[in-house]
């Protein structure tokens, strides 16, 4: 008979060290209206869960995500537009909650950085090719 207790205690101790603390009680209060649920679905796949940051609000089981989904349901039922719902969350958690951050001064590098790298790469390539052509030309004159 394997002693289960030490194992369970170890697991419990390990779990207690997890620094992110969220309560276990929260339930999705699914709306009766399929239209509300459809809009929630559409919105929540574009929004980030703050607790498990790589999942969307739609597929996170974190209690905070459930609470936020319930808040979004309430906002939708109150007749808020999608933009107003997103603005509600951004006001509280910042642009970080949106998976498509808005284009502004702080996110400019994020949005345009890849294009900038592409341009730098193309310029470098052109310089290298030109140099090589020159070298080849001088080789030919030598021979």
């Amino acid at each position: 008979m394997i002693a289960l207790r030490p194992i369970l205690i170890t697991v419990a101790l390990f779990l207690s060290t997890l620094s992110f603390n969220m309560p276990a009680f929260a339930v999705d209060q699914v709306s009766e209206s399929p239209a509300v649920e459809a809009r929630l679905k559409k919105l929540s796949i574009e929004l980030r869960c703050l607790v498990c940051q790589n999942s969307t609000l739609a597929d996170s089981d974190a209690p905070l995500a459930q609470d936020l989904r319930n808040e979004i349901r309430k906002l939708i039922e109150a007749g808020k537009t999608d933009e107003e719902v997103v603005a509600y969350l951004v006001a509280r958690y910042g642009d970080f909650v949106t998976f498509r951050p808005p284009v502004n001064a702080t996110t400019a590098l994020l949005w345009f950085g890849p294009f900038l790298m592409l341009i730098i790469g193309l310029i470098t390539l052109m310089i290298v090719l030109k140099k090589r052509a020159k070298l080849l030309a001088s080789d030919e004159t030598l021979s």
Binding site: F25, Q53, D67, A91, Y93, D95
Partner: protein, 174 residues
């Protein structure tokens, strides 16, 4: 032609610099957009005495700290002794019991000491959402005009108390 060799090396070290800095950043720490904005107003029952309410309106004209915590939160228990020590600094600390069972929260205060002037009870977590709480403990410093000036994400540490919180309180009180 020396540049040809030095330039990639320089670029490499710049990249290493950024990556090295990244190692010491906490990706879980999401900067609050509420800093510099008015603290969301709320009125909530007082923990342990639901007949009374705590209102942010009563706090106008004072500098105060709002510490969100819960009995189910292990990091809050780690932080708790420091909060009790802070009593010695005469810090206006108010609590917000976030999504907690009242009896459990009261038991913590009973066993570990009560560092709070008043604890407001946010049983369903809606006040927490207004404050952008995503993982307790989180602590807000609110100035005399009701503006959030600082947010401590995660437990207050002796370092953050000494380097950030106490100097800011001194500045705001002046």
């Amino acid at each position: 032609m020396k540049l040809k060799f030095i330039l990639p090396l320089v670029l490499f070290f710049i990249l290493v610099g950024f990556l090295g800095k990244g190692l010491f950043l906490d990706p879980r720490e999401v900067p609050s957009p509420l800093i510099g904005k008015p603290a969301p107003a709320f009125e909530a029952p007082v923990l342990g005495d639901p007949s009374k309410t705590f209102s942010t309106a009563d706090m106008k004209g004072q500098v105060w700290l709002l510490n969100t915590w819960a009995s189910w939160c292990a990091a809050c228990r780690d932080e708790h002794p420091l909060l009790v020590e802070m009593l010695a600094h005469d810090i206006p600390l108010y609590g917000l019991a976030y999504k907690d069972v009242e009896a459990d929260a009261l038991k913590v205060l009973d066993e570990m000491g009560n560092p709070y002037i008043i604890t407001a009870n946010d049983a369903d977590g809606t006040i927490g959402i207004d404050y952008g709480v995503y993982g307790v403990p989180e602590t807000y410093i609110i100035d005399k005009a009701g503006i959030i000036r600082y947010k401590q994400i995660g437990p207050i540490t002796p370092e953050s108390l000494r380097d950030k919180i106490l100097p800011l309180l001194k500045e705001l009180d002046a």
